[in-house]
Amino acid sequence: MIYKSILFVLMTLVIIAGFSLPIVPSPSVWYEIPNIPGLEEKAKIIFFHVPTAWLSVVAFLMAMIYGIKYLRKQNMDDDAKSNAALQLGMIFTILATVTGSIWAKFTWGAFWHWDPRETSIFILLLIYGSLFALRSAIENEDKRAKLSAVYSIIAFLTVPFFIFIMPRIMSGLHPGSANDDNLGPVVDFKMNGTMQIVFYTSLIAFTMFYYWMWKIGYKSIIIKDRLHKKII
């Protein structure tokens, strides 16, 4: 109950701060946040968009960890945990794509540009989308769990490249690209203290929310499997 109360308070604070903190050219009081060239008022997307991208990495990492655990112990509960993480990872990747696309429309002029960041997240969606197709195509649950575990391990090897490396070594429009003079607020820490506090609080709150959703997700998969076996 304490966990949920902390989550509720943190997320509420992030929403209030994310909407109401004023952006000024040179902050003079603690509650003001700096104007970042190229982002302006839209810089507040950092508090909501970046955590979704962060959670997609966390979720795919957890899917890989539980995939490895399944291969070692052949416990179906680990497959359920990996599957729940995969589902959430996919949801958060879609959310990161959609929120980024809306932001791009009003910053770059169109919803989609095939910028290296957009292209890399699109490839990730394809990679993990194929995993769901693979899972639904196999009826034997042991075989499905084994193949899914191996796939999630191999798929995760591409995640650091597509999320952290490729968009930074290539020229593009997204903050943090190789040709970005500002280097991006997150990469270069151009945020002031207040902005950093809200940003990191947002990361913590979103991660806590993810963990809660993941627990509900894998428990429901386990219960469904047990009930299914009972009926059979």
């Binding site: 949920k4 989550l7 509720f8 997320m11 509420t12 929403i15 209030i16 909407f19 109401s20 809660w212 959703m213 627990k215 509900i216 428990k219 429901s220 219960i223 047990r226 009930l227």
Partner: protein, 50 residues
């Protein structure tokens, strides 16, 4: 109260803020009830297995 409405009319971002907070409260309450229901089912299943 009229002062509050006047303030909100001139600063409409706070209306959006209240809407988002209400949605968050709704999602949180729903998740909480889902979690409770799931725990009850788990207890019931454990009882059946004994």
């Amino acid at each position: 109260m009229e002062n509050l409405f006047g303030f909100l009319e001139n600063n409409s971002i706070y209306i959006v803020l209240f809407i988002v907070l209400t949605i968050w409260a709704g999602i949180f309450t729903y998740m909480n009830s889902l979690d409770k229901r799931l725990k009850e089912i788990e207890i019931e299943l454990k009882g059946d297995n004994k």
